[in-house]
Symmetry: C2
Subunit: 239 residues, 2 copies
């Protein structure tokens, strides 16, 4: 079962070896759900390694949602081990080109306006101000691949006022000129409207995955974007 595969040799356990050993014990219910694990020091003694090594193993198990650690409290096996899925949200051009397609871009609409309430809902306390709305299509081999409806904060990124968004996507400009340090994400299914269906070239009322992203830099709003994918789009998780 490979629970020894992470040790250099049997007398010198690596942190992965320790992790796997403890993981196995949890799976085998030697340490059952809700149970308290021995102190790091004891385990270190048992495995014949330093406490640092046990700690490294424990951090990994904690990151995977298997255990919970509290100062003084100790270490506990979670009652319901979390299933934590990590998706990588791709940079669109890159994703398209990696599929061997030609990337294209087409501006649909651009205007300064007041964001509607459902968009403002993503902004928390950020004051309501007119923003730059940009609707655009991302193309793969000249066919619609993704539609985005974006609101840009000109207060935070004034430079955007001077960018020609009919030639370059806001997405791309931002990637190159404006980093963020916070990103809120929301994912849901959506029945496309007739207008959206026309733009995307899909049947009306088709179900598509929507990815809503709001990014910030140093607590200042940058942009909020709602992305419609194609009906067959799938997001794969790497656990």
């Amino acid at each position: 079962m490979g629970n020894e595969s992470h040790s250099r040799n049997s007398s010198q356990p690596t942190w992965m070896g320790v992790r796997d050993a403890i993981h196995t014990r949890i799976l085998r219910r030697d340490y059952g759900p809700g149970a308290r694990l021995p102190r790091d020091e004891e385990l270190a003694g048992e495995f014949g390694c330093a406490r640092t090594t046990v700690q490294r193993a424990m951090r990994d198990l904690q990151d995977r949602g298997l255990i919970e650690r509290r100062r003084k409290g100790g270490t506990w096996v979670r009652h319901h081990p979390l299933t934590r899925a990590t998706f990588e949200i791709p940079v669109i051009r890159q994703e398209v080109e990696e599929k061997g397609c030609t990337y294209g871009y087409q501006l649909v609409h651009q205007a300064v306006a007041m964001p509607p309430l459902e968009v403002q809902a993503n902004f928390g306390n950020w004051p309501t101000e007119p923003m730059l709305q940009v609707q655009a299509l991302h193309l793969a081999d000249h066919r619609p691949y993704m539609y985005e409806d974006r609101w840009l904060c000109l207060q935070t990124v004034p430079a955007l006022g001077t960018v020609d968004l009919s030639r370059q996507s806001a997405n791309e400009w931002l990637v190159h000129h404006q980093h963020y340090d916070r990103c809120d994400l929301r994912l849901y299914a959506h029945k496309v409207t007739a207008h959206e269906a026309g733009l995307m070239g899909v049947a009306s009322a088709e179900a598509v995955l929507v990815l809503e992203r709001t990014t910030w830099i140093e607590s200042r709003l940058i942009t909020s974007v709602r992305t419609l994918t194609r009906p067959d789009y799938q997001l794969l998780a790497t656990t």
Copy 2:
């Protein structure tokens, strides 16, 4: 901007302090996209800390997808910092009860059969065998909350043959009796069929989020489940 908030004091930077300092430099393009960072040792010298501390900071930045590290190669700022979103897939009963609703369960269909090709697609090399199919509804306050279409591997978990799945959901039984060490996940939008719409109590052709999960234990298939959520269901990411 809080980049000093993680230091105990200015002369003794913690690993979070070092991390934030480097992060800031990346945001400010002192270390631009694709740039190579100084060696850990140099940075340690600069920050006046041990190499271990720099390493801890670096690992965090790496986990966040901001940098890439290679042995011998060194440390590099990623050209396109990854947006890595982490979702927590909830245990259904728990999720329902946390919303203050009563959890309920209702078996819809159960039979041993050959899984169709689109289900087998999730199984990789796993040999094609008859499996136990279970279709069931999860209820919140007696109203449909989630519909699952599940295939269970009786070879890997023979005990399932003796469980009364009209009283207890397979989900719940598995959580309590069968852990997994691998979980493949797939997420997409789906237009509900008339049959599904009837079961879920939603309008026909409504768009819903589908969560497909396949779990394994020690390289042996446990189960593959396709979960339909309600149309208004949203998955929130914690970045």
